[in-house]
Symmetry: C2
Subunit: 293 residues, 2 copies
Amino acid sequence: MQLIDGKHVAATIRERIAKQVEQIIAAGGKRPHLAGVLVGHDGGSESYMASKVKACEQCGFTSSLIRHDSDVSQETLLQTISALNNDPDVDGFIVQLPLPRHIDEQRIIEAIDPRKDVDGFHPINVGRLSIGLPCFRSATPAGIMMLLEHYQIDTRGKHCVVVGRSNIVGKPIATLMLQKATPGNATVTVCHSATPDIAAITRQADILIAALGKPHFVSADMVKPGAVVIDVGTTRVEDPTSPRGWRLRGDVDFDNVAPMCSYITPVPGGVGPMTIVSLMHNTLLAATRQIYP
Amino acid sequence: MQLIDGKHVAATIRERIAKQVEQIIAAGGKRPHLAGVLVGHDGGSESYMASKVKACEQCGFTSSLIRHDSDVSQETLLQTISALNNDPDVDGFIVQLPLPRHIDEQRIIEAIDPRKDVDGFHPINVGRLSIGLPCFRSATPAGIMMLLEHYQIDTRGKHCVVVGRSNIVGKPIATLMLQKATPGNATVTVCHSATPDIAAITRQADILIAALGKPHFVSADMVKPGAVVIDVGTTRVEDPTSPRGWRLRGDVDFDNVAPMCSYITPVPGGVGPMTIVSLMHNTLLAATRQIYP
């Protein structure tokens, strides 16, 4: 069994990005600039945003953060987005989700200029992903693809089973694994809450991607020996022994599943660090106009 | 075994659309208008376009056809599209595919105003389909969903296997069958040319959708007894006994597969007629601004 070290891969890619940024600056170019919009003071959102700001520093990006109180009106938020769309110095920006209930999240996403939509949530980027055109790929699925690429895991013709059908992970990772590309070109099955016998499906998986957000849902008897297991789950569970009072738990019962796998991602330190580095990668693509000229 | 009579279902839906058009006219509204752009004189394209014009008549739509020679420049074609985008009388329009090689097909598709893109090929409509938002659904997958709905075929939690991953059938039908909706909510597998043992996958299908364009590819030993089989194939094969010299052949070996099925679509008369009526349905949605206000 080989552990997929997302922390290490993310660091490698961050360094590569930082070098490219140095070259851009040396050639008289502009420093890539990622902006973030944070509404309210949710602990999870604050910590994600802090990690993104830190990653920007490591990559040599300019970052800026626009904060709104949780009672911000949708109109004001749309004005912020419009200003970012029109700011020539901002190459890409993200609006940290989830948003408060009085805000129409989809409306906000669709207000973002697709050319600056480095989260890849705008329907144009989602559609281009499906069609197989250049686009900003949603960060978590893009990060998983980078891991498969880094470890040169053979995906062609393999049976990839995705558990979960969310718009930000399950659907786009299924789409990417299906494309005629490397990595990709897999036979892809998506199962979910309405699937009567998920274990019967997951046991067929050469590559199993768990993205349902239920801690330790995937047990050893659901995994085929020799499978590649990618754990996207990051549920916070109480842990009095941790200084923060909680820790992250994946969707896979790692201790029991790991010995059976050819490859497996741990939680934390697997997919998580890749998600942020994917966002950095998208920002560099935006700054260098590689997706939309 | 019950035969899924696409011709009958299409006629029923066409009548329903025609009634709605009568009501619109009676209320002083505008007659829905579908325009088509036809480049060159390919036999298949000519006949598809003729069927669409006929369906418009049956639904009470205005139809118009803009013809270009096969050596039309991309610039001229883009001008035609721009004119249709800006023509307030045109509710929706289609550009018959395939286009000659010197034309960038994707560029043409993306030039169509998504609000008039009744073929549902623009990335915005593809993306909205994936996200689960209101959109113009690609006609063939939408037609299949109408058939499943008409025959009240239970899809929830069923294993739906799609053979083929084209942008206009395989991917969007997989997306639709996956959505938390009725019909839909199925466990979905997509297999394709890189799948090593397609039969091992198709034999698990409660619902099998064949959309690969290989005549009689699906043989009886590839089908689970009691399965629902949807045949999207329409390959022209030579037939000297036919007055046209050819006939349509599906992807399924109908004679041998049909006796094992709970439901099956014939070719012709199954999915084919539904594709055109889906386009009419989309045009009505466009005319009544039900997708994009």
